[in-house]
Subunit: 514 residues, 2 copies
């Protein structure tokens, strides 16, 4: 299998249907593939040949999609860059993978000089923006216009398709090597679990560099249909794009869904085209799901749990699963073509309902980390990917996450899973969203601390939360301190940055990671 294979099918089967819509530009599959084949010729001339790396640092656009496809068509390896990283972090990662080419748009062009300084192997910068190319960069459109289409190299199977850096927000970053088969296995498993017609119109609102959205791009390569890009997530931009382009498929993290459906302008838009809303990273509260179902009247919901190392899907909570309120609290079951286990510290499988680490095995599991043989061997020991997530499984195989192992709080010797406490707090009417962290405590080692975004501006008190929690949680899990904030710090992928929340409390102290 190879990621560009679907492009050949779309040109054969529906050349004149719309492939991409972005910034007022509309291209058919025939036009897109012609541009990709030309750009691939240009990239080959720039040294992006078999297995060579080409990076992209850009907001979402149709050219982002074309650059990814052209790199693979040329036989290269894509390196989508997290634009929330600092310039030295980006330069270091590009130097590590030896990227020869970097594509940047107008929004990120200012980073180029710094990146060049820190990544001396970088030979060419391609400007994907709409403005004039900055000095020393090559024009994307001139590269396309100036080259004849070349044949697809059809590199695939177990060869590397992309390097995806992970961990930039939580610690030392690692480049995850994913093969063509890894990416396609995950997308095919998704499609087997969530039937998706070929007239899918998918909106890239989450960042394309992140594997969740990147995987939806791979899926689009298989299914066909139309891909619509907006530069970055913005609630009103999402609403407007859904209405204008009759979007059928949307992927967002629950935080983004919350911001979208709670937008004061939500009622101004026709959102009846939405059929499938895919979310990940955390379950949705019943309250939020109810508001989302009202806002998107024809949508069904799919939750995927996974991680970059899993290309990315491990479990799926299908639309049918969402009918059952108990199952909605889980992240679903092992997707087709994956196996999932919950194990103890000795990697032996635990009885159902006991909390342990979640392991995953299957054709979607990464090849390894770039140049990190020891960390690779550790993560994949015994043939299973060790996710670092804690959770448990019910009798029907539904997995519930309790926490990232490193976010677990140990208070008075008891394990407190922050997610469990968050799920209770989120049900309080005065709480819009929240995060629970461990902070240092002289008596308990760590104590449970809540960071709350109040709903509707009304104040929230610790006493209110305490009264609400005592009926619903064991005593040692009830928050003993709290703060309110206007918004939680989020990663580019929309995950809450608990490390940031913990930082002021732990300044000058080492926190034990379990």
């Amino acid at each position: 299998m190879y990621v560009t294979q679907g492009l050949h099918r779309h040109v054969q089967q529906c050349p004149h249907e719309v492939s991409t819509v972005c910034a007022g530009r509309t291209r058919t599959h025939a036009q897109s593939v012609n541009r990709i084949a030309r750009l691939a010729g240009a990239l080959r001339d720039l040294g992006v040949t078999d297995g060579e790396r080409a990076a992209i640092l850009s907001l979402n656009s149709d050219r982002y999609s074309e650059f990814l496809a052209a790199t693979l068509w040329a036989g290269g390896v894509v390196v989508p860059v997290n634009f929330r990283w600092s310039v030295p972090e980006i330069a270091e990662s590009l130097a590590e993978v030896g990227a020869r080419v970097l594509a940047v748009d107008d929004a990120l062009a200012g980073y180029v000089d710094g990146i060049r300084a820190g990544s001396p192997g970088l030979q060419h910068v391609v400007h994907t923006g709409d403005g004039p190319p900055p000095d020393g960069t090559l024009s994307f459109e001139e590269l396309v216009a100036g080259h004849e289409p070349v044949d697809d190299v059809r590199r695939g199977g177990s060869e590397v398709a992309g390097v995806f850096y992970t961990g930039g927000t939580t610690g030392r970053s690692k480049g995850v090597l994913l093969s063509h088969d890894n990416l396609l296995t995950s997308s095919m498993a998704y499609l087997a679990g969530v039937p998706t017609p070929t007239d899918r119109v998918y909106l890239h609102a989450a960042p394309m560099f992140h594997l969740a959205d990147f995987s939806a791009w791979v899926t689009g390569g298989i299914v066909g249909g139309t891909q619509v890009m907006i530069p970055a997530f913005d609630p009103v931009a999402v609403l407007a794009a859904v209405q204008e382009h009759r979007v059928t498929d949307l992927l967002l993290v629950p935080t983004m869904i919350q911001l979208t459906v709670d937008s004061p302008r939500v009622d101004e838009f026709d959102l009846t085209s939405l059929r499938r809303v895919l979310y990940g990273a955390s379950p949705m509260s019943d309250a939020l799901l109810g508001r989302a179902m009202k806002a998107f009247p024809n949508a069904r919901y799919v939750q995927a749990y996974g991680m970059t190392e899993l290309a990315p899907i491990a479990t799926l909570l299908t639309p049918d699963d969402h009918e059952d309120p108990a199952r909605r609290r889980s992240v679903g079951r092992a997707a087709p073509c994956t196996e999932v286990r919950v194990v103890g510290p000795d990697d032996a499988e635990l009885p159902r309902r006991e909390v342990g680490e979640i392991l995953v095995r299957g054709g979607n599991v990464m090849l390894g980390y770039w140049n990190r043989p020891e960390e690779t061997a550790d993560a994949l020991r015994g043939g299973w990917m060790h996710t670092g997530d804690a959770g448990w499984m019910d009798d029907d195989g539904y997995v519930s996450l309790t926490d990232r192992l490193k976010d677990m709080i140990i208070s008075g010797g008891e394990n407190v899973y922050s997610v469990e406490v968050e799920n209770v707090l989120a049900q309080h009417p005065a709480v819009a969203t929240c995060a629970v962290i461990g902070v240092p405590d002289d008596t308990w080692g760590e104590r449970v601390h809540a960071v709350v975004v109040p709903a509707g501006g009304a104040p929230v008190t610790l006493e209110q939360l305490h009264d609400f929690c005592v009926d619903r949680l064991a005593g040692y899990k009830v928050p003993r301190s709290m703060e309110t904030v206007d918004a939680l710090p989020l990663s580019a992928a929309g995950k809450v940055l608990k490390r940031e929340l913990r930082k002021p409390y732990w300044a000058g102290q080492e926190r034990a990671v379990h």
Copy 2:
């Protein structure tokens, strides 16, 4: 990916649901997998370790399924044997692959002595039947009962999963090597194209040794649900099984569909459970499709075109495609994860609507033929599987088969595609089914000859067929001679054996194959 992977998911997610139903025996997924893991232990003791071959010669049964799964669980390679072959043919193929173990049921146990004589490497024969094990054979049930469950070896990816002999009816037989990834790619592509819920109840009525039904077994491994086995195709047995087990999914070749829906007893059965009828090998006439839609009121239809070397799917004509009468005459479009091309003798792609050879590329294409490096290189030259089928493609990518290249008739220098003539004849009300072959002709080299099974016993004359064809076909395609027969000779997979039909006409002569 590995073929047994789904078994782990089913045991995790639905251990107490029904896995197999056969001959009055019903087993849950937990029971099936326990038996498979025990049998795998027995097979390992018998020498079926990594990559070793274990063959099975049997009518359909639940033990057939368990034997296949246990062989793969043990790390072995399955060799399903065509029971229509002669004993020397079977022995020769088993000797060629060096099979250590052979499973036989009661119906085929009589072959064992002959096979042992011709395949001296065969060490153990396992009896899968219900009667007492013949002398010198091991009891399947005793092997299961006498061994503890062993861990799944999880051999997979590009390693060989099975050797499937092809060509026994049309010439020199070749063992097709299919990997785990080949088989799973084809099944996943099917599922992406034809959404199939996990409560699928599939009826094995076509022979399990043939890759069409074997692939449906692999698909069942992914989806879960229930697999029902009847020993062999029989119209009334199919009807009875559909009613009794509320079968939802059925795979048959059109000949078998015709025999089933035209059964005089069809109205006695409740066939409302059928949701998906998958057929292959040839398109269905509108007349037959109409009768089938009446007989199976809730079924939708899927046509798959492929061959053993493609594990087996190349194209899919989806249920939606069946709504369009013009598309129903095609075999559909390239399935997800495959590419299809029509090429001339130089392997260059032809313009649309020009007839040429059909080539296929993708993760489903075989590893090669067992011990046939030259034939492998020839079949896969340029990275594409050369199917030997002639056909053409329309502007939307729909492929129509004109013929097997070797069944094409050259009459007076003109190419006549037998399938085209058959499709016209099949529309005549007096024709139940038919085959068109080339027979020697002093004037034309070959002439078009029709072999007709009359409908309802009324006689058919050449003049009637001639009058019907002249308005519908070019003059050189109209049959110039005919014969009537009670039934066409069929392969075990239900394909018409044109070689058999041609034999009396070509006795003592060499027929040029184009």
